[in-house]
């Protein structure tokens, strides 16, 4: 465990020093990886640990983004940038989760998918959310003495948040609560039989995942300075799902690794060809078929890396 913490710290230091040696474009790519890494980790808590495969995680990502856009326009502070989006997404997750956890498996997939599409349909239609065009010109939060419009300060801000979230989620999945989630994943009926209030655990897991997805959505809106209905669209959930599967489900590091692989591959492939989606689809299919454990699973098998 200490070895892993040291490894994590070393990576964080490298990421922190990265803007000193790299140009703007690579730094932005790293920032995108951090944001999507948070989003993918939040989905992984749900799917890798609790075994609840959601196709509607974009609902919370989008809520976080839109709430941040509206709140930051009113009052550009940290409450608007972080607290409100996360809370709103968490609240929405409680409501959606309340309905969705009554079913499982494919029904859960379809229900979560439908809920997120509902938000997409709404955001796409109403003018107070900018309809099709979304909201542009979202300010970054104003901190005393720090100018977050500067790419390096924004990098520090993102990285700091990423570290807090990663350690926080790591704490969650290693806690007794996290073990109960894994138990539910393995054998829900047995967990129920030995007296765990399974539904309450699932709902809480759904809400926690929602909170952090909302945070990721907010950071995404701050990063781009804009948010569109596409944040709610099923492809947003799909991309997070691809990241988790490619990286390896059930490991937070895998989710981040998957996010990194996805974003680097995307930027690499798009410079050569327009057929990014095709390559993405094929990559994903090959991973499901031949590398079910994802990158982390493959590494474990190769070098005997342990959980």
């Amino acid at each position: 465990m200490t070895a892993r913490l040291i490894g994590f710290a070393a990576l964080v230091v490298l990421a922190a020093l990265f803007p000193l040696v790299a140009g703007n474009y690579p730094v932005k790519l790293l920032q995108e990886i951090l944001i999507w890494g948070i989003f993918a980790m939040s989905l992984d808590v749900l799917m890798g640990y609790a075994g609840m495969v959601s196709f509607g995680h974009s609902a919370f990502f989008g809520i976080g983004g839109y709430v941040a856009a509206l709140a930051l326009a009113e009052n550009p502070g940290l409450v608007s940038a972080l607290v409100l989006p996360a809370l709103a997404a968490g609240l929405a997750a409680l409501v959606i989760g309340f309905f969705s956890i009554r079913v499982s498996g494919v029904y859960f997939i379809m229900l979560t998918l439908a809920f997120s599409q509902m938000f997409y349909a709404y955001a796409f239609q109403v003018s107070w959310l900018g309809a099709e065009d979304g909201i542009v010109g979202i300010p970054r939060p104003a901190l005393p003495g720090v100018d977050l419009a500067n790419i390096r300060s924004f990098h520090g801000y993102l990285l700091g948040l990423f570290v807090v979230v990663a350690l926080g989620l790591w704490r969650v999945v290693r806690s007794p609560f996290g073990h109960v989630l894994r138990g539910i994943h393995e054998n829900e009926a047995r967990m129920e039989a030995v007296g765990y209030a399974v539904d309450r655990y699932k709902l809480l897991a759904f809400a926690i995942a929602g909170v952090f997805a909302g945070l990721a959505g907010s950071l995404y809106a701050q990063f781009n300075g804009s948010i569109t209905p596409d944040a709610f669209f099923w492809t947003t959930s799909g991309e997070a799902l691809l990241m988790v599967i490619i990286g390896g489900t059930g490991t937070l590091g895998g989710a981040v690794l998957g996010a990194a692989a996805f974003i680097l591959l995307q930027s690499l492939v798009s410079t050569y060809t327009e057929r990014w989606m095709l390559i993405l689809g094929v990559t994903f299919i090959l991973f499901v078929l031949f590398v079910p454990g994802g990158i982390v699973g493959a590494l474990r098998g190769r070098v005997g890396l342990r959980a």
């Binding site: 494919v106 997939i109 509902m118 299919i285």
Partner: protein, 288 residues
Amino acid sequence: MPVDLFAQALNGLAYGVLLFLLSVGLTLIFGMLDVVNLAHGSFYMLGAYAGLSLIAGTGNFWLALLLAPLAVGLVGALVEVTCLRPLYRRPPLDQVLLTFGFIYLFEDLVKWIWGGRIRSIPPPDLFSGSVSVWGAIIPSYRLFVIVFGLVMAVLLWLLIERTRLGAIIRAGVFDAEMTGGLGINIRRVFTAVFAFGAALGGLSGVIAGPIQSAYPSMGVAILIPALIVVVVGGLGSLKGSLVGSLVIGQAETFGKAWLPDAAMLIIYVVMATVMLVRPQGLFGRPLK
């Protein structure tokens, strides 16, 4: 007003019938293979584009209506044999995830071959005009869609309830392993059902072409209503998919006419209500 109402109801019926053709493939595949085929909308899209090219190539809508589903069925068989088959021993969600990957693959493939813009598909000459039904003016093609869909529903019912093949399919839906034990080559049946479901998806794509045109994201756009239909009707149930389609078809059409602001939300409200009252859907088997 009643005339308007009637025209709306007919439009809703045409849409519902279209959803039925699509969702029946989805529900058959689920019933048999336990796979929710998220690429089902892609088969619909492939059908529309195959129809587009066949109509352009042969100049004959009816030939396209026959050949395009066959082509899509072939693609479906290929997907099942090469990619799904190795996954049957894995957790069922792996198969859902696999079909998810195919959404990306097919959509981009279509963009590559046919380009990204909307392509309109002409209706057959026979049904290119409008007709008046009790005072309501509607495109005659929509009437054709309604009749065609209802005839297909009857044929499908006959196929499933009255033929030997149908008996095998029903047995397989009930218990695939046991059916295999009785000496049926269940693998081949799986492939056939998947291909047949894909062909039905392709067929609905060709049928939808003259109404909705062809565009790359049409598959994903129709996937959500189709999934809602099977959730409302009950996964794996033919009757459920018919009733669900007609309900959703009317809900969406009347929603658009009466509550344009909330139109996109209505079908979700219908679904959420059904799931709360009856989680297995109207005609589904009780959830385990």
